[in-house]
């Protein structure tokens, strides 16, 4: 008998024996919540009072005109509390944690958005909180580390492996196998063992449900294409799930093309041919791995897409050709972000900017009668250091030099 949680051949629950009762408990809490309408109502209440649901849809008037093709719309997940779609998943799992009677939450984080969202939820619900973050990501996402610590979370810099998201996930599991009695692991994306891919998708589906209704109400028709960036796949699954029954809406997942094809240069598991099917981190999907099954290094300008695996549900949707996968390069992503900032005054996160880059590449070839929709999964405040380097802003550089000088003078005087 197979475990539930398979999407064709992908998914499953490849977990150490010690966690089997914990997963049984989680699955049952999740299924009970799904049956219980009051749970979803409580969830929507919290999302509309503590975060900003429903998030609006914005039309990119200037870029639509400039690019001269399809009309471009953006779903504004950046307007969530803490600035990304991660809040949708985290508040849902927080409510489940309360129902399970647990007192502590742990999470992995790449960009730090999921870590900040989890720390926020823990502060609000009164949970202890530990966040695992690859040391490489701690170094490039300091603003998020700062806020997590301000909110009372312990941030552990993971120095194992590639020091990025996958290593943070391993460390979170190592914590969980010791502390499962009072601790819930708030996995941040639609990956990992069952029921996480399905459960995270359920919480994120609020994006797609809203977006579909908003596009219909505004234009009287659905968009021709919907674009979302794909790290683990949660924001993509969230917006896509509003449109699965609409055969005329093409769904486009955009992965991290990094510096181009070839091992170690990117994190495109489905758009490029470098990944193969494997089992790691508790689930079966496409991984960027070598012939023996050892995970390879990945690269992306955005920490949140820099990951070896991808949602098993997206691997299935890739194989069944229900979602088209593309990859956007680091250079195109930074350019798309700058274009959006300059022309529209929106500041998409580097992760989200992958979806913008692909949409901008395709829009001019489409008819002005068509609409396209981009999921703006988050805003870029956290990326200020990376972006300032990428655009090589001399004033920012001087600001940091002056700041550092002031700090070292303080230290010398102390």
């Amino acid at each position: 008998m197979k475990n539930s949680g398979y999407y064709s051949q992908f998914g499953g629950a490849f977990i150490p024996e010690i966690l089997v009762p914990t997963f049984d408990e989680l699955e049952s809490a999740y299924l009970t919540a799904r049956e219980d309408e009051s749970f979803w109502q409580e969830y929507l209440d919290i999302m509309s009072t503590y975060s900003c649901r429903a998030t609006p849809i914005s039309r990119l008037d200037n870029l639509t005109e400039q690019l001269g093709g399809a009309a471009i719309y953006v779903k504004r997940e950046d307007l969530n509390h803490t600035g990304a779609h991660k809040a949708n998943n985290v508040m849902g799992q927080g409510l489940l944690t309360k129902r399970m009677g647990k007192k502590r939450v742990i999470a992995e984080t790449g960009a730090g958005q999921h870590g900040v969202a989890t720390a926020t939820m823990a502060a609000k619900f009164g949970f202890d909180c530990t966040i695992y973050m690859g040391a490489h990501d701690v170094a490039r996402q300091r603003p998020n580390v700062f806020w997590m610590e301000q909110m009372g979370a312990t941030v552990v810099a993971v120095t194992e492996g590639s020091q990025t998201l996958k290593d943070a996930i391993n460390e979170a599991f190592r914590d969980w196998v010791s502390n499962m009695d009072d601790t819930h692991y708030v996995l941040g994306t639609a990956c990992g063992p069952h029921p996480f891919p399905e459960m995270v998708t359920w919480f994120q589906s609020v994006i797609g449900t809203e977006a579909r209704a908003q596009m219909l109400e505004r234009n009287g028709k659905l968009p021709s294409r919907v674009y979302a960036c794909v790290g683990g796949g949660s924001n993509a699954m969230g917006i896509f799930s509003g449109f699965f029954d609409d055969k005329d809406v093409e769904l486009v997942g955009v992965e991290a093309g990094g510096r181009g094809r070839g091992p170690g240069q990117h994190a495109a598991r489905l758009a490029y041919d470098d990944a193969t099917i494997g089992v790691a981190q508790g689930y079966k999907t496409y991984f960027l791995q070598d012939r023996d099954g050892q995970m390879q290094d990945t690269h992306s300008v955005s920490a949140g897409l820099d990951y070896v695996g991808v949602s098993p549900i997206l691997s299935y949707l890739h194989e069944s050709e229900q979602v088209r996968f593309e990859a956007a390069s680091d250079v195109d992503v930074v350019a798309a972000m700058q274009k959006t900032v300059r022309n529209e005054g929106l500041i998409p996160a580097l992760e989200s900017s992958h979806a913008f880059a692909q949409a901008y590449a395709e829009a001019p070839g489409m008819s002005p009668d068509e609409d396209i929709l981009i999921n703006m999964s988050g805003r870029a405040d956290k990326d200020i250091f990376t972006v300032a380097d990428a655009v090589d802003d001399p004033k920012w550089r001087q600001f940091i030099i002056d700041k550092a000088k002031a700090y070292s003078e303080d230290m010398n005087n102390a």
Binding site: F14, I18, V20, G161, R174, T276, V279, G293
Partner: protein, 260 residues
């Protein structure tokens, strides 16, 4: 008597006629390098080790703590491959007359092809496998292949495992059962005291297979505590620690302190 008595189970029972507890040790193949792996096994066997777990390195060893995690990463950095692990394991089974098991994660089997992996184990004289991220419900193909080859798939009991699940795990295992002494990952201390007596007697009552106990076993006192309660004591991270602290040559002396 249960229906699937394997060579591993017979070997354990035979060895137990002469000793009241057996010692199983664990090494990570290719750490610090393959030559040292061979030397350490030779020293361990000469010092009186009864069975050995050979870990094929994996880049994501989710169930392992810092010591074994680092050993996996270092072995891979120095070029360890599945191919070389099989080559060295073949030499070991030929040269030493004790049972050897592979311990590794499921992706290593999956990427080789499960049937191929099991066939190769059989061909080189490996007697069983421990795959900590493969519950029986996900391991149908693996279990069928192992049973058909009369090899021993070893599953794990934990202090969280309910009795009904222990029976299910036992039904899908042969050779022995590996009981982890506590929650958590490998390499942390365990208090071997009356606290775990109930757990161990529950394990014993739920399976007819020999019982091995590991996680935190690192001294003669720990082994003395387990004597009479289970069949096999498993020493894992501690031998790696000794090797890192005092050099490869110190392993033999350490094992001798455990078996006397």
């Amino acid at each position: 008597m249960h229906e699937r008595v394997t060579a591993l189970e017979l070997a354990i029972k035979k060895a137990r006629e002469k000793k009241d507890i057996l010692l199983m040790t664990h090494i990570v193949l290719g750490y610090p390098n393959f030559d040292d792996s061979l030397r350490v096994v030779e020293d361990m066997v000469n010092a009186g080790v009864d069975l050995m777990e050979l870990q094929i390195p994996f880049s994501e060893p989710m169930a392992d703590g810092p010591v074994i995690l680092k050993a996996n990463a270092e072995a891979l950095k120095r070029g360890a491959t599945v191919e070389k692990s099989f080559e060295v394991a073949e030499r070991l089974t030929r040269e030493f007359d004790i049972p050897f098991l592979f311990m590794t994660y499921y992706n290593i089997l999956y990427c080789q092809g499960i049937q191929t992996f099991v066939d190769r184990c059989k061909a080189i004289g490996i007697q069983g496998c421990i795959v900590p991220d493969l519950p029986p419900s996900e391991g149908e193909e693996y279990l069928d292949a192992m049973h058909a080859a009369e090899l021993s798939p070893v599953h794990i009991f934990t202090p969280n495992t309910p009795e009904s699940r222990m029976r299910h795990l036992s039904d899908n295992s042969s050779g022995m059962i590996y009981c982890v002494a506590r929650k958590g990952v490998t390499g942390k201390d365990t208090a071997f005291s009356e606290d775990i007596t109930n757990y161990l007697s529950l394990c014993k009552n739920t399976t007819e297979l020999p019982l091995a106990v590991g996680f935190g076993v690192k001294s003669k006192e720990d082994i003395d505590y387990l004597r009479g309660k289970v069949d096999i004591a498993v020493v894992g991270s501690e031998t790696i620690r000794v090797m890192e602290r005092d050099g490869v040559g110190a392993v033999k002396g350490f094992i001798e302190t455990l078996v006397t």
